[in-house]
Every structure is written in C-alpha cells, then in structure tokens.
Symmetry: D2
Subunit: 203 residues, 4 copies
Amino acid sequence: MMTKLAVIFYSTYGTNHEIAEIAAEAARGTGAEVRLLRVAETAPQAVVDGQEAWKAQAEKTRDIPEVSHADMEWADGYLFVAPTRYGSAPSQLRAFIDTLGGLWSDGKLANKAVSAMTSASTAHGGQEATILGLYTSFMHWGAVVVAPGYTDPAIFQTGNPYGYSHTAGTPFDETARGVIGHQAKRLVEMAGKVAGKELATAA
Amino acid sequence: MMTKLAVIFYSTYGTNHEIAEIAAEAARGTGAEVRLLRVAETAPQAVVDGQEAWKAQAEKTRDIPEVSHADMEWADGYLFVAPTRYGSAPSQLRAFIDTLGGLWSDGKLANKAVSAMTSASTAHGGQEATILGLYTSFMHWGAVVVAPGYTDPAIFQTGNPYGYSHTAGTPFDETARGVIGHQAKRLVEMAGKVAGKELATAA
Amino acid sequence: MMTKLAVIFYSTYGTNHEIAEIAAEAARGTGAEVRLLRVAETAPQAVVDGQEAWKAQAEKTRDIPEVSHADMEWADGYLFVAPTRYGSAPSQLRAFIDTLGGLWSDGKLANKAVSAMTSASTAHGGQEATILGLYTSFMHWGAVVVAPGYTDPAIFQTGNPYGYSHTAGTPFDETARGVIGHQAKRLVEMAGKVAGKELATAA
Amino acid sequence: MMTKLAVIFYSTYGTNHEIAEIAAEAARGTGAEVRLLRVAETAPQAVVDGQEAWKAQAEKTRDIPEVSHADMEWADGYLFVAPTRYGSAPSQLRAFIDTLGGLWSDGKLANKAVSAMTSASTAHGGQEATILGLYTSFMHWGAVVVAPGYTDPAIFQTGNPYGYSHTAGTPFDETARGVIGHQAKRLVEMAGKVAGKELATAA
C-alpha cells in the first residue's frame, strides 16, 4: 500500500504555490500517492480583487481542490507550505487549522508525519519562527515532526534546518529544488515508516 | 497628557472577554485613557449561530467596538487577550494582524508597548506558546514587549511570566484579578514611559 | 533486534531524576533496550557542595553513567529530561549538547526519534518553552520529534502536549506516572518504526 | 544621569566579539555609559587550547572584564551578543544566566531594557530561534524586550527583526554596522526611558 501525502499550501502571490508544486512532484517520484491541496481563501473577495497579483494567483489555482477534513484523515503525512506573516502562518491557514477541533478530539490527526516550508521577503524575516510555530500546533495533534535538519548537504547552502525557506522574488535554482525535494521525500519516507507502509522506491 | 491603552480581545465563549474587562478596569484606575475593543469575528455566521454559547457571547459583545486601524495608531500601548488554538492565537486575531501591513510599513506600529494574556482548557495547553508567538509578531512591528515576569509576588502562584494565563472554566479569584491588574497597570506605566507621558497616578 | 532508547536526564534536586526513572521503567516494559544516563555536572564542585540538597542528589546518582557520545550513536531514540531555567534547558544539558558538533556534522545524530520532559516550580513557569526550545535544537540534528500531543486521555488532566511537565514539590501520582509512561512507550514505538525494528511487545 | 548599558558577549572565534565592539561604540556615541563585558568560558581549558582559533580569541579578550552580578544590577539595559548553538544560546551564556537566581528572586533584574544579537554559519541556521529563546528567558526577569523590528530601513536588507544576525565569515559592511548601531542606540534610548533618565544626545 502506498504512503499517502497531502501537500497543503496557501499562496497569495504564487511563491508558496511553486514550492508546493516542486515538493509534490518530488514526493510523487518516490511512488507515494500525493494530493496537492490549497487552503481556502478567507480574505474578503473585494480585498483579493483589489490587488491584481493576488487576484491572478487566486484564479490560477481555482481548479486545485481545497483541503478538506477528509484529506486530513486520508493522509499519512502532511506537508504545509505557507508564507510568513510577522513570524506566524497566515490567518487563512490558521483559520483552516481552527476548524480541526472535531478531528483532533477524535484522535484522527494523531501519528501523522508532518513537515513545513515557508517564504518571506527578507533573509531572516520570520521564516524560522513561522515554521516552528506550525510545528508547535502540530504537536497538539500528536504529530511526528519531520524537520529536515542538515540531512542533505545542500541545506548548508540554503539554511533553514526547520524547513525550506524561500526569499520571495528570488528564482528557484537547482539547489532550492533539490532541498525542497529532499525534505518532501524524507517526509514520505518517515510517514511510510510511522504508518507501517512499504515505499515503492527508495526515497 | 494621558497614556492611551487599547485592550484588544477575542473571545469565543466569554473567558477572554472577562480577562479583558478586568484588565481594562485596572488600567483605567491608573488614570490612563483605555479603549476596550474586540476583534471582528471571521468565522461564518452559520458556524457561530450553530453553537449556543458562541452565539450568546457574540450577541453579548455586539456593542463593544471592533478594533480598527485608527485605534492601533491612537494607542501608546496594546494589551492583546485571546484564547489558545493549538499553541497559537486564534485565526480571528491573526486575520486582524494580517490587515496591518500598511500601518506597519509606514512605521505606525513602532515603539508601542505591548503585552498579552490568554486562556486554555488544560494546565499547559499552549498558553506559553500562544503568548510567545504573539510577542514574536509584535517584534516585527518594533514593539517594546512588556511581559510581567515575576514582578508581582502573586505571579508565583498563577504562573506564567510571559502573560496571565487562565484555565477555562475556573473562577476569577482575587489572586487572578490581582495578577491581571498588575500586568495591565505595568503595561500602562511602560507605555507612558516609552511615549514620554506622565502618569496621572502611580501605577 | 530491540529498539534502543537513551533516557538522558539532568537533575539538581531529584525531580527530573524521578521522572527519568519512571520513564525508563515504562520503556523497559515494552521490551526495549534502555540506558538511563545522566548529564555531567558542570557547576563548580564548591557550588554543588554549598547546597545540601544538590550535593545529596549528586551523590545519589554517582553510579549512574554519564551520557557519552557513544550512547548518542548507539540509541535509536532519545528521551531528554531536565528542569526549566527561565524557559530554557539548564546549562549543564546545553553544555553536553554543545559538545556534539562532531557527531552532528558526521550525520550520526540524524533520524533519531526524540522526546522531552521537564519540571518547574510554577504552573506555567517555562515548561512549554523549555521543551519547545529543546525540540528546536534536535531539529538541527535531523531528529524526528515525537511530542505526545493528547494521544492519551490523561494528558487532558496533566496538560502539556509538548512533553510531560512536573510542578516541583508535588507527588508523582498514578496520573503522572501514566502520562510519563505513555510518552516513553510511544517514543519507543516511533523510534522502532523509524529505525525499522520490531517491537517485542505492543507499546 | 547617564543611561547605563552592559554589552555582554560570548565569542568563540571572534565574530560576536566584533558585533559587540561595534554595538558598544555606537551606544557610547549616544552619551550612554557603556560596559563591554565578556561571558566567562566554561569549556575545559584543554578543549579551548586544542583549537588554535578558539585559544587565540580567548587570549585576545583576556583583558575584557567578565560580566558579574554587580554589572547586572548596575545596568539599565543589557545587550546580549552570542552565537547560535543549534538554535539556542551557547552553554557558556546559559551557565551565566543560571547563576542569576539570587538577583532574580530579589527583583534586581526587573525592568531592565534588553536586546540581543547573534551569528550562525548558515542563512537561517537558528538565528531567529536563538534570539527569541533569549528573550523568553529575559521575560522571566521582568525585562522590557526591545527587538529592533524594522525601525530602520536597512533592516529590510539584513533581515532579522528580532535582532541583528550575522552570517559567520562574511565582512561587516556599512549596512551591517548601521543596523548593529541602530539596535544598540534604540536600546539605550528605551533603557533611558524605562529608567527615567535623560539622554545626552538624541539616539
């Protein structure tokens, strides 16, 4: 049976959508069953429409399914991808997390392997704090937190051992893609182990 | 000129509303100008209406003004009061914080004295993490963070040196009221000092 | 092959030593191979000798082996147990962690399952921050963080989903022992899964 | 009466010593009384001597006084400067902090303005976590935390709103010096306000 990974992203202007696509592709390469899912927008439609870039991104991702409670139950592992808002995850993602009380109290979120990635506009603009804050929440669920550390040599170049961190506006070069892929594949591997599943291929 | 304090709360069932009222009253006792303000609800109306206790609390606080960007500019200090959601502030409060980008980039949130209080349903259910996570965000604004520490002996009884933490469902006894009042008054004192204002009375 | 767990504690007056003993015993009950190890004292001998309770505890644990680099390599999982010092682990434990640079850069600390427990003298006296701070460090190693969450119903009574937290001076009742045992056994289970080992008995 | 600032650093190879010197010089430029102080080494002498660069740095700073409890009482504000060790302050600094129990319980550490700076070898190598972890400890003391935020436009270039963060091995250019100086001067300003002192010159 295949390991099941939910790649769950929120993206205002596209950076985190791109991270999520790269991660999902790498995870699929391991043979895992992967769902690419977006977090529902909670900002008023007028606010979204008032910014061309935001509106365009919303339209571009319209056909990507919104993450549901059923997806949360289905998956063996979660990869969350979202930008920084003052050292915290955006309220859109927090709003989704706030709806999970029922699943949580039924123990349906326990023993999932989780990891997170983020972006910010400056070099140390809250990337660490955002990812660590998400992990703190996931611990309430009884998650198994799979931060990458420096388990791939390229992480010494990109930095963040808590999770891949992109500086908005910079390109996704081979190093970035490699680090994103490594984190996603390692998460699949650990999710499979925790769930007691075989990997189709070596991660 | 009086020190101006905004007491900004989000409360689903009333616990954090009560903390905010106690804090606002104590702050007023110092001679400070105090605005008690609530964070706008962002959950769908149907969800609120679907829970009697939530609906009742929403109706009870209908006449308390919603916090606005003008309030954020007006105040010398902010006291944020909100429950824990898996070790983070609720999405309603994060949604308000996410709207402050314009004020922040104009430097209008800098040099404000800030403090926070919270509640949770278990003894160490994320109270520390919630308050510390809020302070992390406020640091992005250039805030001056005024956690109480153990500056009042009663804090050795109630615990949290990062900010008052209530266990939901327990009563607000004299010790709790004293600790809440102390944190609020000390915040007024520090906000006045940072803003270069005289206190009407000793805090 | 048995899962190997290192229970690594630092204890000034005995509280964390007792937590570690309870955890080690529970872990052994799963069939795991368990080493109970203490962190070397780094305070000057005169300081230790100057406090009767500290000196007595030091003498009491003299025969428990000090944790070594070889232990860190040997184990599939680590359970760290140490008191709070202003919301952080004590310097004795940080000093041991600071010696691990060689093992870390050789990748010898990667893919270990880890968990932590703590104590403090007040109810929210930094217990959450201490455990979360340790997990942050372990993420640098490429650890798999196994916080208990609310995976056992008793945790709703004792509280901390990041790791068991004792209030110093209170007794270890059945609930406390159960929660400590649950966290230790779950760590063994996850360490075994990550390391690809069979459990002798169901955890 | 002058504002009194203690610049307290630990530096293994010199990076944080250099940050501290730049900060102390900027602070002196405001007219503040500044003490540059180093944290005592706690690693065994043989370990220090075993690394040429470490030994050389130890000898270079031999004449800088070690920070004492009297310095902690004397100062109106503290600037802590120390490298990252797996997302935490080094054990040498934690060991000094661990000795402050007596001052703390006498309330002698309360109402001090504090700020922190750090360095790491990679771009997001725990700099945020290290500074936030120190602030968490200082909150236990009743400190007033003065993180820089983005109160100077150059911080948008260097990044960390929690405190200046240097990537080890890179030069200290004008931008870096400006950001370090800004954080130090703003800390003096806030320390003076909290302590009720006049500034000699505008910060």
